[in-house]
């Protein structure tokens, strides 16, 4: 464990706020608080990784060698000190006493608090297939995973990434860019099936294959084979894919063990209400570990939205979190992909589709009539995602688009100039 030497001891006259988890959600919460009301809380933030919070979204770029470790750091230790925040890194929380309002750490340290925020994130899922314990079988979550991949890569291993979702594609891209031969295995018949419609998924597959990644769809893993060390993946249909580096990227599970053991109401994640409060007074949860209205999020944007709302709540402001309309924004692989809302459409929906094969762009808007007006229900953008956030805002606010419908697919520039 490490208590940062630069960290000032917390001011005992202030209410003590302990944030469990120094990831993107936890840091953002702290940033919001110190920006809005510096000195309102004595803050301690505890992280189990050795380094302070960094931007996980950029891990594949780091793996690809496109950026360095410094580039993904969000705040350096100096920043925490300057803002009077006690930063504890490399020390995991092991127990939570909701009655005594005390947090136990692996180092044996105990932190008493007035309020605690759980921002413990999630863990990658490792499926219970034979061989998953072999050396060379990794996940794609943190800097340690990246370091392990690099070690194996330098040994000349071929890589197999299992999981054709956002995470798996980013991992495969990072590996390929790092010069490693990569096979991407995906259980379903198209990539990113939860974020993309079939056409965008096909374009994505073509784009990924163009980058030298071999894509195998409808690939159900039966076992990882190897003797002590992974040699490849055996599929249920009998195919065998060779590779000494196997990366599971099939999903995440909210890290709720601490809360569950402390008796907080949990489902998949830690159940929170619209003020991000858990079932225990004074204890809140945000980010991937939290479950709001039955939904656990795996993306950074809802975590940031929750952090903002919680900061307001902790500062005594009226604030409520109503959930986030999800947007997927895949940027890393050099293949801009954006999707949001109900992008599959279906009954009662109208689809506007624009495509330019020469530029590998494809855009789909799903429009739904609600009452007397038309609203944007979902969007898929492939190749040109410049207007993604603009569409997302319309989906979120339920903007009536009747007057601009004809130009909407061309993006904000065109709707502006049509007026």
């Amino acid at each position: 464990m490490q208590t940062d030497p630069e960290t000032a001891p917390t001011d005992p006259r202030l209410e003590h706020l302990v944030v469990v988890g120094n990831g993107m959600a936890g840091l953002r919460l702290v940033e919001e608080i110190v920006q809005r009301a510096p000195g309102r809380y004595a803050i301690t933030i505890v992280g189990k990784e050795p380094e302070p919070a960094y931007n996980r979204v950029l891990l594949s770029s780091l793996l690809a060698g496109e950026i360095g470790e410094d580039d993904i750091r969000l705040r350096d230790r100096r920043w925490y000190a300057d803002h009077g925040i006690e930063l504890i890194t490399g020390d995991a929380a092991t127990g939570l006493d909701t009655g005594a309002r005390t947090l136990m750490l692996a180092s044996g340290k105990r932190l008493s608090f007035d309020r605690a925020v759980l921002a413990t994130g999630s863990n990658p899922i490792r499926p219970p297939v034979p061989g998953s314990e072999l050396r060379g079988v990794l996940t794609f979550r943190d800097l340690a995973d990246i370091a392990a991949m690099r070690r194996l890569a330098t040994a000349g291993e071929r890589a197999i990434v299992i999981g054709g979702g956002l995470l798996g594609i980013e991992a495969a891209y990072g590996l390929a860019r790092a010069g490693i031969g990569v096979t991407l295995l995906h259980l379903m018949d198209r990539l990113m099936e939860r974020q993309l419609d079939p056409r965008a998924a096909t374009l994505l597959r073509q784009a990924i294959e163009a980058k030298g990644i071999e894509v195998v769809l409808q690939a159900e893993t039966a076992a990882i084979v190897g003797d002590g060390k992974a040699d490849g993946v055996l599929l249920k249909d009998g195919r065998r894919i060779d590779g000494g580096l196997v990366v599971f990227a099939i999903g995440i599970r909210p890290e709720a063990e601490l809360a569950r053991e402390a008796g907080l109401a949990c489902n998949r994640g830690i159940i929170v209400d619209d003020t991000l409060a858990t079932s225990a007074p004074g204890i809140f949860a945000i980010g991937e570990c939290a479950e709001h209205r039955g939904q656990c999020y795996g993306l950074v944007e809802p975590a940031y939205a929750q952090a903002r709302v919680l900061a307001q709540a902790l500062l005594g402001e009226e604030a409520g979190y109503n959930g986030t309309v999800l947007a997927t924004n895949l940027k890393v692989s050099g293949v801009p992909v954006f999707s949001a809302g109900d992008f599959l459409g279906g009954d009662g929906c109208e689809e506007i589709i624009l495509s330019d094969p020469g530029r590998s762009t494809y855009k789909k808007l799903v429009i739904r009539r609600i009452g007397g007006s038309q609203q944007l229900a979902g969007v898929v953008l492939f190749g040109d995602t410049a207007d993604g956030l603009w569409y997302l805002e319309m989906i979120r606010t339920g903007t009536a688009i009747d007057r601009m419908r004809g130009d909407l697919i061309f993006g904000r520039d065109f709707v502006g100039s049509a007026a």
Binding site: E350, E351, I353, P357, G358, D384, G406, F410, D413, F414
Partner: protein, 892 residues
Amino acid sequence: MDGAARPPLRTTCPYCGVGCGVLPEADGSGGWKVRGDPNHPANFGRLCSKGSALGETLSLDDRLLHPMIGDARVGWDEALDAVAGGFARVIDRHGPDAVAFYVSGQLLTEDYYVANKLMKGFIGSANIDTNSRLCMASSVAGHKRAFGEDVVPGCYDDLDEADLIVLVGSNAAWCHPVLFHRMVRNRSTRGARIVNLDPRCTATGEEADLQLSLAGGTDALLFNGLLVDLARRGRIDHQYVGAYTEGFADALAMAQSLAPDAAATARACGLPTDAVEQFFAWFAATDRVVTCYSQGVNQSVAGTDKVNAIINCHLATGRIGHPGVGPLSLTGQPNAMGGREVGGLANQLAAHMGFDPPAVDRVRRFWRAPRMATREGLKAVDMFEAVACGRIKALWVIATNPVVSLPRADAIRAGLDRLELFVVSDNVIGADTVVRAPIRLPACGWGEKDGTVTNSERRISRQRPFLPPPGEAQPDWWIVCQVARRLGHGDAFAYETAAEIFAEHAALSAFENAGSRAFDLGGLAALTNEQYDSLPPFQWPQRAHPLSPERSRLFASGGFLTANGRGQFVPVDAPPEPAGDADPAFPLRLNTGRVRDQWHTMTRTGKSPRLAQHLLEPFVEVHPDDAARFGVADGRLARVRSAHGEAVLRVIVNSGQRQGSVFAPIHWSAENASDGRIGALVHGAADPISGQPDSKATACTIAACTYPLEGFILSRDLLALSTPYWVRVSLQTGWLYRIALEGEPEPSWGAWAARLFRADEGRLLQLSDPQSPCYRAAYLCDDRLAGCLFVGEHGQLPAWDWLSRLIGQPVTEEAQRRGLLAGRASDGVADQGPIICACFAVGRNRITDAIVADGCHSVEAIGAALQAGTNCGSCIPELRRLIASENALHAA
């Protein structure tokens, strides 16, 4: 080429009867620019939009370049043998009246002369008629009745010197813009008044001091009323009437019985009494009156009577033959008058002589003709009826497009299939008539031809060649002479040059003339080739050498060409009931005419992108009340039907249109529109005297066309479309098609677009919105925009003009590419809207911007800012309208 300044080549515009002098100049990059000849007395350097765009019409891409029989290219000998052999066979078997020539006011006088000579002196029939039958025949007949000869008494200078200019059935602002400009300039410099008599308030009417939107066909009644009123006011020039005319009393008595006073006249003409009184008062009080008339007078079942009703008023007041006075027939075609001079109408013989036996004998002796026609031949409408019923078995159509332009054009088209021999000589390959003819002979076009034309003021000007004949094209006179030689008449048709033909024509005009015919070019009968080449524009008569350059006027002191030398008043009876009035299925009257920037069947003007943009589509103008009654809407398509045919046209709701009457332009053909041939609707009724068809009053009806989808296609290449409605418009680098359809073509939009552009569907940029019907596609070939297709519901389509500028061009900027299917750039580059000023290609939006943003509240200010309206000026009425509407909008 040496660097010395060479005198510019002077030639004459091939469009309307104004006959403007033009100076073609090579633009240094293989093309030509055409500007007005400052020395030509018809235009003094000014040109209209059509003339200014002549340089854009000289491309060879649609030219007929080689003789063809069926689908085969053949040599001239083979083609000429086939033509001559075919005529000889039909004549042998069925006699000379089984053959006919249908020729054109586009022909030069020399072409016309040899065609007429061959038919009337050597084949032995008078079955040669001309498309001038469709435009000038009633004026010819009216002139002959009143003056004894087809003579226009005045000249253009009269327009500069008149104090009242009355326009009857003439949209001169669009159809004779250069003359109209002289009238407007007179108004602003001398204060002349302009009165416009027309059922429609046209661009001409908008400029007039008084617009009388009289009921169609009542023009003669109005002039009868005027004659009565002039008598009542004591404005009759009894000295002139008594000394030089006869028949005044009968004409006045007839007029009094039909139009006893202004109120009765107004009622009969469907006009407000005070407006009629105003017109009568102005006419009575103004000594210098010119009355200009055109197709609204001529194209009528009572066209000849209308002409005489007008002339009656000028004879009665002695307003003829002096500066600033007279009736002035505005000729439609560049050489309608030249055709009349050689006798190119079936009811004339030659050189203003008829079929009276002394004239026939005189011409026989002059021509040494073996087989003279001794009676009139079949006029155009009758000629094509004779074709349809099989009486005429061999037809040669020269330089005209009757399948589009004749009344009952569908029936005409069908009738052509019965011919044993059907020959066309033309310069274009795709015209509706040309494509139907088994034998096609390539003729020289404007810029290649060498000869003369006569304009509306009896002025003969040279058309001189400045381009080499393309392919194997030959002058029309050469083609006719070659056929004549093969028919055994080599000696009579042994001309080496056009000049020799002209000299013979001049000699015939003077032959045994002795003042009996005003048409006398005796002074030119001995013209050499060199003199012909340098011939300046001059007016006839020219009885002696050297030529007189003076402006000439006739009849100021009598000297009429009638038997007794007196001008004739013609009592003008009430017009016959319009045809088809009894049929309740056709409650409307179809009026037809020209638009500003197109000419005839668009075989030449249709090539100019600039001209195409004034009015893109065949349209029908409808009064707002009729639009409501028949359920048609502005900007939508409507089907107009008559008993003879139908057309699908874009509706323009216009309160300037008279209720009960609709107007449609004559220009579109099957070559450039699916359903735009107005000739198909027009009835076959004709003036009984002149034989000129009445193209202004066909009984018809109109109904909305309910195609659910509309669209446009821009294409680098010509397309063959099968959409239920389409119109083709030429662009700088390709074509625009406007279309309408029932729904998605089988099997899919994408497959259809791919087929249109001959592209792989997988390479198309596409936009689809299957629920609200919308489909767009663009095809880039080597990053150049080869085509795009836009389909949607009416009103849901973007403007096409931004895209049209990209057709055939590289699309390299991402902003452009992103905008392709939006139809515009994202940076808000202004769409300049439909072209208003064709000369300087200034669009409506630029003009309204200048009015609103830059405070240009006068035509002059707009001209100074944008140049619009400063060349031909034919857009000035539209500029005024824009100023007025923008001011009204912003004052509100």
